[in-house]
Symmetry: C2
């Protein structure tokens, strides 16, 4: 294992310390492993809280800031944050206007966010939740009942964050979050495994001439292993299952995310192939992101996310955002 | 070789096509392999033109846009752009107010930019040049006389781009560029080699228990190979040679760039270690960037850049920038 780390057990804490050093505008609680905006949530603003296992950076901590999240709870690598962590983040972020929990559909995350929501409710905080389950690769999986939650989460946090910033109330924020969640589909492929620091070796073996189609963001098996293909053919493997799953024609926001170990020159090349297929299918890509936004440690590969987007969603997408991972317009 | 590509020979063209698809606000000339802003350079504004071998993305094409470059010429992977490409970019970007060439110190780049500058001068375009040679790892190297040019280039393009945007004339822009160039130092380490698509195999062999200290951004050998070290010890290997090379105490802009294959969780962890040492050395990190800004294909590792910065440089750093790779304030 070759990584820029100290002891494997300290990776999360050490990394959070670096986040705090690099981003004095954020407040990092290294004890509870929660990243907050520097200023308390403004009175009357619904707070957005997300979180999950670490290893997917910049998700979620890198999306804390104006126009996106108010707090993110960071679990150990590929491990759900505890109910206590999520409760802490919920209490710390609430301004009195209520809190939206944004949860990726993994069994541990769903249970722990539910428990935290109940504990918060007992303390008088109103919590709504949205569970993202957008990965079309597999029904059920190693860590989920139902579909896994992936890239739609990034777009949801941006769009819903903008609505909360504009003053939408908790019901409206939650309704919008469910709309975005229902409007997104994702599909990923891996060329290599990732290596969890505490494990010290690759999560799975993938021969030099094979790739994993439909891989999960923790290296969970996908649909099949196939011979290593060209970018042109891989684009079809990403786009076709999404098109088969819903009617994607019309305006959309698209994310092509690297998984952590794939350089930008390859991601742009893949995006060129993907964009041609999306256009051919009648998808009008109104906005897109190409880069590392939801990753799987050092895995080589990429995931494609398509979110159907009306003019209102595009407007919210374009609204100002100031976070370590996404920043524009302010 | 596992990469998201089609034919190795088509990587650059295919990737540029993806850049155009993802960034309709830019104009990509795939014939000459030059990336321009969407709009011609505004009358009276000095144009900034850079370029170099591909494989270092987002540098340079990802830094074209408001507040940074006007054009970037993209050579083949790890290969200098031709004089014709640079001349094309220079002519395409000039508004009549002159052009600054920003050149990283590699023999081919320096020669080809010089030739392009002469050809442009013959056509009546005034060109000034700045050569960045900030890498303290080695004097002379595989591809350079003198030091290699690395991360200071990113900071220079941002700061000098802001000055050009504000209307500084060619002499002032060139003088500022030389000031920034002289104020920056860089040092990098690699945990793995990179793989050039046309070569199909790693550029060098690095045993599982070793790292390369002072590596160049094309995989050129550095100072030494040492046993794989902790992030804490690696931070010293990055910071000490920079401190030994110049008096860095005082305010600074700092870049910790990944080399393409290292995930953000590790880069932030490294930044935490580096920041502690910089502070200890009396460096006041006024601004920092952590992420992939100047890369070496899929190499695992990182490079540290420290640029001494007075209030005026910080002001220019904070000025609006709208490019694929850096974006804020507008």
């Amino acid at each position: 294992m070759k990584k820029l780390i100290n002891a494997p057990a300290g990776v999360l804490t050490d990394s959070l310390r670096g986040v705090q050093a690099a981003h004095p505008e954020l407040r990092v609680d290294t004890e509870h492993r929660v990243i907050y905006r520097g200023e308390p949530t403004r009175a009357g603003k619904v707070a957005l809280v997300s979180g999950g296992g670490s290893g997917h950076e910049p998700m979620h901590g890198g999306f804390v800031g104006l126009g996106m999240l108010d707090a993110a709870a960071a679990g150990e690598v590929f491990t759900s944050p505890t109910p206590d962590q999520v409760l802490e983040a919920t209490k710390g972020a609430d301004s009195g206007a209520g809190v939206l929990h944004i949860v990726k559909n993994y069994t541990g995350d769903v249970l722990n966010f539910e428990m935290a929501a109940e504990l918060a409710a007992a303390e008088g905080i109103r919590v709504e939740s949205v569970v993202v389950a957008d990965d079309v690769a597999v029904q059920d999986s190693t860590w989920t009942a139902g579909r896994r939650g992936t890239g739609t989460t990034v777009i949801l946090e941006k769009v819903v964050g903008a609505a909360a910033e504009e003053g939408a109330d908790l019901d409206a924020v939650a309704a919008l979050a469910r709309q975005v969640s229902a409007s997104g589909r994702s599909m990923g492929i891996a060329l290599t495994s990732c290596t969890v620091p505490a494990a010290g070796k690759p999560t799975f073996d993938l021969p030099d001439d094979q790739m994993e189609v439909g891989v999960g963001i923790h290296g969970e098996p996908g649909r099949e292993r196939v011979p290593l293909a060209s970018a042109h053919d891989i684009a079809r493997m990403l786009v076709d299952p999404i098109l088969a799953d819903f009617d994607a024609a019309g305006p959309a926001i698209v994310l092509l995310s690297g998984l952590g170990g794939t350089p930008l020159i390859e991601l742009y090349l893949m995006y060129g192939e993907v964009a041609a297929l999306l256009t051919e299918a009648g998808i009008d890509v109104r906005r897109c992101l190409v880069g590392d936004y939801i990753t799987s440690l050092d895995m080589a590969g990429c995931s494609l996310t398509v979110v159907k987007a009306d003019d209102e969603l595009i407007r919210l997408w374009d609204a100002p955002v100031v976070t370590p991972g996404l920043r524009w317009g302010a």
